[in-house]
Structure formats: structure tokens, C-alpha cells
């Protein structure tokens, strides 16, 4: 009998709301102090209630965990802290039964230096897997490739005294890059994809895709060879695994990112990185221009593709895709304590970034949900969890999920000292004040608001599938646009200012339609030939359905 719990829909991801989970931090089912896959499975009722469509799991593979699991030492297993491959399968099955899909991070660019492939490769120049990594006896090849982790690495080459050679790495020196010029490597990674797809996974977030290949006299990013390999992955998925999704992490300018969609034959989705810092900028400057501009400079994408949009994630709020001036501005406004900076970014969670302002948090979600793309929420941000800047690297935004006000925030029944990271006891953001149970019971909580908001978005495919038509008003503090899909026309108007603002919008092409506010279903005066006047509360927003009188 049917084990398929979804209508066939190759474009499901275009209407989906994604929810990113750090497995270690979500829920500890076996009281060892570390979250696990069974823990997530036990919380599926919550996720079903929340209304999300797809879980995105950070890497769950065996790893020495020197980079949060992005340093994989075995592609075909689950980290023992997280459980077993059977637990993973049970989680996927349980999620599917609730109408939730599951994708997971997959790092194809590199492995951990602990990976047996690397151990074999370094052992001898004649080892069969020697050529699976990129070796050199000089450390000055590919000089145009930038160093990404500027805070911890000074070069993309590191000397390995066992191998007696330098090896290439775009990230940490304990993460040697795989050599994709070697067809055996290409085939091996394809095998990895098949293994998880056969278990029922709904797709992958492909970490660090721009860096697969290297070539002299290039910056070794976005090379044609990389795109060709992605087309090969996609063809394999399309032919054998319908309705799965490949989501590219390519922290690049829009004109480079869109190449990862190919002609609809590479990745299904890619993150829209540059729009996110501009939303934060627009809010602080009370000026919609940065958002309008970045969307204007974003090229159109194939119909079968979608942007992934987010406010915050498990990494630092990345400022790679802004100008130097913009970055200085962002640091000055959002990282007043130097501890908050990391690499080219800011390691804080959403609520503290926005000074815990409820209006600001709602407004940023409203803009996020109104833009063309699929929103990706980060665990804990739905209740406004805080961060801990005194923890190292990005651990400050990866603290345990705050389920209840009980011991360890309901995350684990292990001893406090056993926990992988201390749950937050901050007087404002800590678990006694901010937790799922309390917010479920409080009708006015952020969690309850977001739940209704997700529900509203899901009733209107227009947000995932519709056009984006900017409406530039004279008042620069207002970000307004129209989304259209089939007979649904939606007007979204957002006030970025911390003061009430009037705005006049030219809606004359919709003359005769009646704006109906989408939350409270209040009907506004019909649209006529004159500019349509709206007054917005500080940081306020309106979403209207422009209804035809039938």
C-alpha cells in the first residue's frame, strides 16, 4: 500500500517554508547531553503544528566536529551522537507521514582530514586515492583564489609532512578539498547522493558548491567545470528520484548565483544571500532603497527554480556580499561589541540583532515572506531565542532549543555539565523567559503570531509562485510591491521607519478592486483612479488581497 504521503509535485519547494535544525541543539532523546535524530522525531508534532513544509538538517555525518560537522569523515553513516542510519530513516518516514519533507546538508567540496580517503591519499604519492585531493609541492598555485576564513587561515595551501606536499583547502586547513578533476571523485560523490536518496531524503543543501574545481588564472569560483558537474548530479536526480531538491549554498553576487540554476538543469534552489544584509540595512536606515535595488539587480531565474530566503541561519550573518562601506555600516549598527564579529560577518541571532523589538521582528518576517522565494527559518528564532557571544566561533547561535522553563530548558534530562553547550540563562532571552511551552500558551506570543503567519502564507501560492512587481512610492521609507499568481493579486506594503508614515500608491491598473487585509479580513475602500492612500504604523505592514467583486 501507499507509502507516498505527498501529491507528486516537482515544484513543491517553491511553495514551501523551510526550517533549519541543528540536530545537536534540538532535543536530546537519550539524556547524553546532545540532541539527536530521535529527538527531532519526538518533536514532529510541534513542527507539524508550526506548519513548516521541509526540515533542513545541518550535517549529521560522522565527523571530528572541528567545523560543526561540515568536516565529514564518513559520508555513509550518522554521527554516533546523533544516532544511526535507522534513526535517520525513521525520522524521514515519520516526517513524511506528517506531510513534512526532510533535506540535509551535504558537503561535496571537501572532507575532514580524518576521512579515510585523505588518510590514504596522504600516505604515499602512489596511493590509489592520492589524486582524490589537490596536492602541490608549491604553495603559490591558484594565487587569485581568496582566503575565505580570514580569521583562522592565512593561505589556501597547508603543508602536510606525512604526504610531503601541500594540499589545497578553501576553508579550514583540516578540510582538504576533494579533487573534482578526478572522475573517481565525481562518481564517489554521486554514490553518496544515491545512498541518502534511496533512504528517502527529499534533497540536499549543497554546501560550498562554487569551489569544486580549480584552474590557474581564475579565482577558482563558479568555474564552468563546476556547473557541468552540477548538471550531472541534477540529471541523476531527475531520472531516478522525482520531487527531490538540490539547494545550492553559493554565497555570491546574484548574477553569479543564478548560474547555479543553469537553464533549470542544475540546482533547484539557491540562497539569495545579498538580499538579507540589505534588509537589515534598510531597517536601520529606515530606507527601502537597498531592498528595491538588490531585487532589481537580481536576474530572472528559470520557472522551475526558486530562491531560498532567510533572515538568520547557523552561520554568522554574512557580509561578504556588501560593499566595504556597507559592511562598516552594518558592523557599526549591529555589532557594537567586537566579539559579535566573525570572519566577514556578525554572529548573532535574529532577536538580539533587532534589540528584541517585536515590531521589527514581525516586519522583517513580513518582508521575508513577501519576497519571491521560499523562506528558511532557523530553529529558535520562532520564539526569539538569544545568542551567547562568549561562546567560541558560531556556537553562540547554536545553543540548545528552549522547550520549557524547566531544567536545561526542557532540552535534555542530562546533567547540566554534560550538555554540549549551556542553554541560555540570559534574563531576557534565556529559557526561563523564552520557551516554546510558554509561548504556545500565550496567544500574543511571537511563536503564535508566526504560526498564523505561516498558515496565511500557505493559503496563498502567490508568495511562492507569483510575480514580483515593485511599487516605488515617493516615500522612500515604504517598501511596497505586488505579487500576482493566477487570479490572486496581493499588495504588500511595509513601513521601514520607526515612525508612522503615509504612502500614496499608484494602483490605477487595479481600479475597481477592493483591498482586503489578509490577517483580519477587513475590507478597505475600493481602488479608484486616484493614488491610493495608506497610513502605516511605525514598523507596520499591511498585506492586502486585491479582490475582484464577483
Amino acid at each position: 500500500m501507499s507509502e507516498h504521503w505527498f501529491e507528486r509535485d516537482p515544484l513543491w519547494f517553491k511553495r514551501a517554508v523551510f526550517y533549519e535544525i541543528h540536530t545537536r541543539g534540538f532535543f536530546d532523546s537519550n539524556q547524553d547531553g546532545s540532541g539527536d535524530l530521535r529527538g527531532i522525531a519526538e518533536k514532529l508534532d510541534y513542527l507539524q503544528w508550526l506548519g513548516i513544509d521541509c526540515i533542513w538538517l545541518l550535517p549529521m555525518y560522522p565527523s571530528p566536529l572541528r567545523d560543526g560537522g561540515y568536516d565529514i569523515s564518513n559520508f555513509f553513516d550518522v554521527h554516533p551522537d546523533y544516532g544511526t542510519v535507522e534513526d535517520f530513516k525513521a525520522l524521514v518516514d515519520g516526517a513524511h507521514r506528517r506531510g513534512i519533507r526532510v533535506i540535509a546538508d551535504l558537503v561535496v567540496n571537501h572532507t575532514s582530514s580524518d576521512h579515510p580517503w585523505f588518510q590514504e591519499a596522504r600516505s604515499s604519492p602512489d596511493a590509489p586515492k592520492r589524486d582524490w585531493y589537490v596536492w602541490s609541492d608549491r604553495n603559490d598555485r591558484y594565487p587569485d583564489a581568496r582566503v575565505i576564513f580570514v580569521d583562522s587561515e592565512s593561505s589556501n595551501w597547508t603543508w602536510d609532512s606525512t604526504a610531503n606536499a601541500y594540499y589545497w583547502h578553501r576553508f579550514f586547513s583540516h578540510q582538504p578539498d576533494l579533487n573534482f578533476a578526478n572522475p573517481e571523485v565525481q562518481d564517489a560523490l554521486l554514490q553518496v547522493l544515491r545512498f541518502w536518496l534511496d533512504l528517502g531524503i527529499d534533497g540536499f543543501r549543497l554546501d560550498a558548491v562554487p569551489y569544486l574545481f580549480e584552474r590557474e588564472e581564475t579565482n577558482c569560483e563558479n568555474l564552468p567545470e563546476t556547473h557541468e558537474y552540477l548538471r550531472r548530479l541534477r540529471a541523476e536526480v531527475d531520472s531516478r528520484y522525482p520531487d527531490r531538491v538540490l539547494l545550492a549554498e553559493a554565497n555570491q553576487w546574484p548574477e553569479d548565483v543564478v548560474k547555479y540554476f543553469g537553464e533549470g538543469d542544475e540546482c533547484h534552489m539557491a540562497f539569495q544571500f545579498p538580499v538579507m544584509p540589505r534588509m537589515f540595512m534598510a531597517l536601520r536606515r529606515e530606507d527601502a532603497v537597498p531592498v528595491y535595488e538588490i531585487l532589481q539587480s537580481t536576474p530572472p531565474i528559470p520557472d522551475n527554480c526558486q530562491w531560498g530566503l532567510f533572515l538568520r541561519n547557523h552561520d554568522e550573518l554574512t557580509l561578504e556580499m556588501v560593499t566595504d562601506d556597507e559592511r562598516d555600516y552594518m558592523y557599526a549598527e549591529y555589532a557594537k561589541d567586537p566579539r559579535m564579529k566573525l570572519n566577514l560577518g556578525i554572529r548573532r541571532r535574529l532577536a538580539p540583532l533587532l534589540d528584541n523589538g517585536r515590531g521589527e521582528i514581525e516586519l522583517m518576517h513580513a518582508i521575508l515572506f513577501s519576497l519571491p522565494g521560499s523562506p528558511v527559518l532557523y530553529y529558535g528564532d520562532e520564539i526569539g531565542m538569544g545568542d551567547n557571544v562568549y561562546l567560541g566561533d558560531r556556537d553562540g547561535v547554536r545553543t540548545p532549543m528552549q522547550w520549557t522553563g524547566d531544567r536545561n530548558g526542557g532540552f535534555s534530562r542530562a546533567d547540566f555539565a554534560q550538555l554540549y553547550l549551556p542553554p541560555s540563562l540570559d534574563p531576557v532571552f534565556g529559557y526561563p523567559a523564552v520557551n516554546i511551552e510558554a509561548q504556545l500558551r500565550t496567544p500574543t506570543s511571537l511563536l503564535r503570531w508566526l504560526h498564523r503567519f505561516i498558515g496565511l502564507r500557505k493559503e496563498h501560492p502567490v508568495f511562492g509562485l507569483g510575480t514580483y512587481e515593485p511599487l516605488r512610492a515617493e516615500n522612500p521609507r515604504v517598501f511596497a510591491h505586488i505579487r500576482r499568481y493566477e487570479d490572486d493579486v496581493v499588495l504588500c506594503v511595509h513601513n521601514l521607519a520607526n515612525s508612522a508614515q503615509p504612502v500614496e500608491l499608484d494602483l490605477s491598473v487595479y481600479a475597481g478592486r477592493v483591498p482586503e487585509e489578509m490577517f483580519g479580513r477587513t475590507r478597505f475602500p475600493p481602488i479608484g483612479g486616484l493614488p491610493y492612500l495608506l497610513t502605516l504604523a511605525p514598523r507596520g505592514f499591511f498585506w492586502f488581497e486585491l479582490r475582484e467583486e464577483r
Binding site: 507516498h4 504521503w5 507528486r8 507539524q48 506531510g99 520549557t404 511551552e437 500558551r441 503564535r448 479580513r521
Partner: protein
């Protein structure tokens, strides 16, 4: 040829299909929201005239959302004459509603008996039997039922009843799942499953319908209440006590297999009760937001915040017991009195909820609350209900239930249990209010009274 044209969506013009869907009782959404309709796919399950096509049609709404429906389409030549509403005509053929045609309805049972697997271009329809051999071969009398429901049923010779699901959602229908489980268990208080058929293909995998034992002469609890409350009130109360016992046994049976992941009872997670309360609270908020002006709503009009306040007061109910698979839409109309004992019907769950919601494990007290609400309906519908009847009915049913139910799956007796029941009754009353407003405005006073009573208590 004609069958191919039907499957390609060419044989029925769109407006005819829209009109047909709008006129069906089983069409679940608002008629005015329907923008487009078309046949997407299907399988010809009988290729001799009159032909029979099990088709999947899409109803598409103005927002771009859609629903899928099962159409059972008969095809007969123009000069033939068969019973059943005409949907379209093309190339000298008439396309019509097949379940009204006894010949074609019988065909579905024959296909189950033969365990046929029929392949179409993009899909397979599988017919399966479950102990169908125990029934007589004669299906001569095929009688479509006219009841108000979201499905279409046909009774064969007072022995079997075929139920074709209309709105299709991906996955196994909980009714098939639960009936199969209880039939295999030998649970005596359900009509045995006799067969089913399902579609799996390019669009969806979904249960299309089931066949089960029919109980001739049995009357449902609602009819029985109408007859007996006035004349033989005590006898009926004794039957409600027995219904409580049967319900307790039903929940025990549903919770009896800890190895089957679809049925194993589970410990609720720490936020389970808060999730229930949040869900009910949002339903209250939503329904009060759109409450129309209507004097029948007078007792609760503008009192949404009071209702939510009341919910908050009772929301700390303590332990939840365990969560199990439940009936999901339990009321007197779902229980049949066979003359000797009760038999429970209709395990689909509330039709307005998604399949994933309907399959979810929940506290068994949710079913109990549904039945208690149903006593309120009886008390309002019967002319001369004896004083205090509803309260006595509740007591009889509850004492029968708690005597027979497996104690580990329900909260211990006490205030917490009563509060939990009250939360579920409120949830049900809010659901009823929405249902009656949309479908049976004349009945709206009953949930209104239920909610108002909660406010006074």
C-alpha cells in the same frame, strides 16, 4: 478512443465539469471559489460498454490552490440509456456519474473479488479483497445512498456497502487503515472490511474506496435517540452506557499493538497539551473574527475573548494520558445499534482536516468529547427531552467508558481529566460552529448553546 479523450480531459467541457462539481454534496470547498476544473488522469477499469473510468479530477481555486477528487465516470453510447447524471457528451458517447448505475457499481465489487490490478498509462488502480468470499455472489440489488456526506456509497443486497472517497489526499485513508487493523484483530464492534481499491500513479497515491459489511435494519444512535428518548428514556440511557463500554473497548483495541508504528500508543511530548490548547485557541479566534450577523449567534456574539479566557483557565489540565489512533469524528450518527449491540462506523476523521491531521495520534478523550457533544445535539433536537437528560446521558456514557477503557491511555480520574474533556468539548463545539455556519445554518444554535454554557459554568 472515447476513454482516451476522457482521460486527456477533452471529452467533458470545463464548464460542465465545474457545474457538476459545484452541484455535488461531496464537493468540499465553497462553490464560488472554484475557478477551473479538469480531468487530470485516470484508468479505464472496464473497457466494454458501458465503460467505467476511475478518474482523478482537479478543482482549481482562484488563489491557485487545488484539490483532487475521484470521479467515477461511466461511458455509454448515445442511444443507450443508463441511470446517472450526465456530465458531458462527445463523439456519440455520454459521460455520466457511474455510481448511480448499478451495473457499474457492481463492476467495482467484481474487480475487488478478482483482486484485479489495472494499469493505465500513468497510473495503476489496484482492487483488493478481504474475506470477500464469505459474502454471496448475488449483488443484484445495488442501491446508492442519498445520505448527506462527503463520500458516495452504494449498498449491495443488504450485505455489503461500497464507499467511494471523493476528495483525494496522498497516503492511505485512515478509515482503510483502521478498519483493516480492527478487522484483523477480530474486533467485533466494527463492520468487517471486505475490500478496497486504490490509485497509485504520476499524480498521487491514494485510497479510492472501501467495501465493508452492511448492517441491514440497524439504526444509528441518532435515529434511536429520536425514537426512544421520549418513550423509553431509561432503556436508551442503558444503551448509552453500553456505548461507553464499547467505546472503551474500541480505544483499547486501537492501542493494543505496540509493535506497529502506525498504532503503537505513545507518550505525549512535553508540549503536547500546550499544542492542543494553542490549536483550539486559534480556532476560536479565527471563527469569532468572521462571525456573521445572525440572531442565533446572539448568545456568543462578541464574546470570543471570554471564550479564550475560559480556555486559558482550564488549560493546565495535568497529565494527558497516552496518545493513540482514534476514531477522529465520533458522534451518535457514527454508532449503529444492530438490535443487540453497538457497531462503530466511519473512521475517516473530520472531513475538513488534512489526512496528516486525521492520522495523528491523539488523546482518546477527544473521541469521548465528540460523543458528549452529540448528546447536546440530541437534547436540542428532541421535542420533549426529560429534565436533566443530557447530564444523565453523559454520566452513563462516561461511567461505561471509564470502566472498560485501558486505564493507562487516559488521565487518572479527577479534575485534570475533567478539564481535558472540557478542552476537547470546546474544540468540538468550535468545529461544529464552523461546520454548521458553512453547511447547516439551521443547526447553528446547538454549538452556540454549548459554547455559551461553557461561559456560564
Amino acid at each position: 478512443m472515447i476513454a482516451e479523450r476522457v482521460l486527456a480531459g477533452d471529452a467533458i467541457d470545463e464548464q460542465s465539469l465545474i457545474d457538476f462539481l459545484r452541484s455535488r454534496r461531496w464537493f468540499g470547498s465553497k462553490a464560488e471559489d472554484l475557478a477551473h476544473a479538469r480531468v487530470l488522469d485516470g484508468v479505464v477499469v472496464r473497457s466494454q460498454p458501458p465503460m467505467l473510468v476511475a478518474a482523478v479530477a482537479e478543482a482549481r481555486f482562484h488563489t491557485g490552490m487545488h484539490e483532487l477528487y475521484q470521479l467515477l465516470l461511466g461511458l455509454h453510447a448515445h442511444d443507450d440509456d443508463r441511470p446517472g447524471d450526465v456530465i458531458g457528451a462527445s463523439d456519440g458517447w455520454v459521460v455520466y456519474e457511474a455510481l448511480a448505475d448499478p451495473g457499474l457499481a457492481r463492476e467495482l465489487v467484481h474487480l475487488m473479488r478478482g483482486e484485479s490490478t489495472i494499469r493505465g498509462e500513468d497510473a495503476v488502480v489496484e482492487f483488493r479483497a478481504a474475506n470477500l468470499g464469505g459474502y454471496g455472489p448475488d449483488l443484484s440489488e445495488a442501491r446508492p445512498l442519498e445520505a448527506e456526506q462527503s463520500n458516495s456509497s452504494v449498498v449491495f443486497g443488504d450485505e455489503l456497502i461500497l464507499k467511494a472517497y471523493r476528495r483525494l489526499e496522498a497516503g492511505i485513508n485512515p478509515e482503510l487503515e483502521v478498519l483493516r487493523f480492527l478487522t484483523e484483530l477480530g474486533f467485533p464492534h466494527v463492520p468487517a472490511l471486505a475490500g478496497w481499491y486504490s490509485y497509485s500513479g504520476r499524480l498521487i497515491d491514494s485510497t479510492l474506496g472501501i467495501l465493508q459489511a452492511y448492517m441491514p435494519g440497524a439504526r444509528d444512535g441518532w435515529e434511536l435517540a429520536m425514537d426512544e428518548i421520549g418513550s423509553s428514556s431509561d432503556r436508551f440511557l442503558a444503551r448509552l452506557r453500553r456505548l461507553g463500554e464499547v467505546t472503551g473497548e474500541l480505544h483499547g483495541a486501537l492501542a493494543s499493538d505496540s509493535l506497529d508504528p502506525d498504532f503503537a500508543p505513545e507518550e505525549p511530548s512535553s508540549e503536547s497539551l500546550a499544542l492542543v490548547v494553542a490549536t483550539v485557541d486559534e480556532e476560536i479566534e479565527r471563527i469569532f473574527l468572521g462571525l456573521p450577523e445572525d440572531e442565533r449567534l446572539e448568545p456568543i456574539a462578541g464574546r470570543g475573548e471570554e471564550v479564550r479566557e475560559r480556555l486559558r483557565l482550564i488549560s493546565h489540565a495535568g497529565p494527558l494520558g497516552r496518545v493513540i489512533r482514534t476514531h477522529g469524528d465520533y458522534h451518535l450518527g457514527q454508532a449503529l445499534w444492530s438490535g443487540e449491540d453497538w457497531v462503530v462506523l466511519d473512521f475517516e476523521g473530520e472531513p475538513a482536516r488534512s489526512l496528516a491531521e486525521r492520522r495523528r495520534k491523539r488523546s482518546p478523550l477527544r473521541d469521548v468529547a465528540g460523543m458528549l457533544r452529540s448528546f447536546a445535539y440530541v437534547a436540542s433536537a428532541v421535542q420533549d427531552v426529560p429534565d436533566g437528560w443530557e447530564e444523565r446521558a453523559r454520566q452513563e456514557f462516561l461511567s461505561g467508558y471509564f470502566e472498560y477503557v485501558e486505564p493507562s491511555i487516559v488521565p487518572p480520574a479527577g479534575e485534570g481529566r475533567e478539564r481535558l474533556l472540557e478542552i476537547f468539548e470546546l474544540e468540538k463545539a468550535v468545529y461544529e460552529l464552523r461546520y454548521e455556519l458553512n453547511h447547516r445554518p439551521d443547526w447553528v444554535g446547538i454549538p452556540v448553546a454549548g459554547i455559551a454554557r461553557l461561559l456560564e459554568s
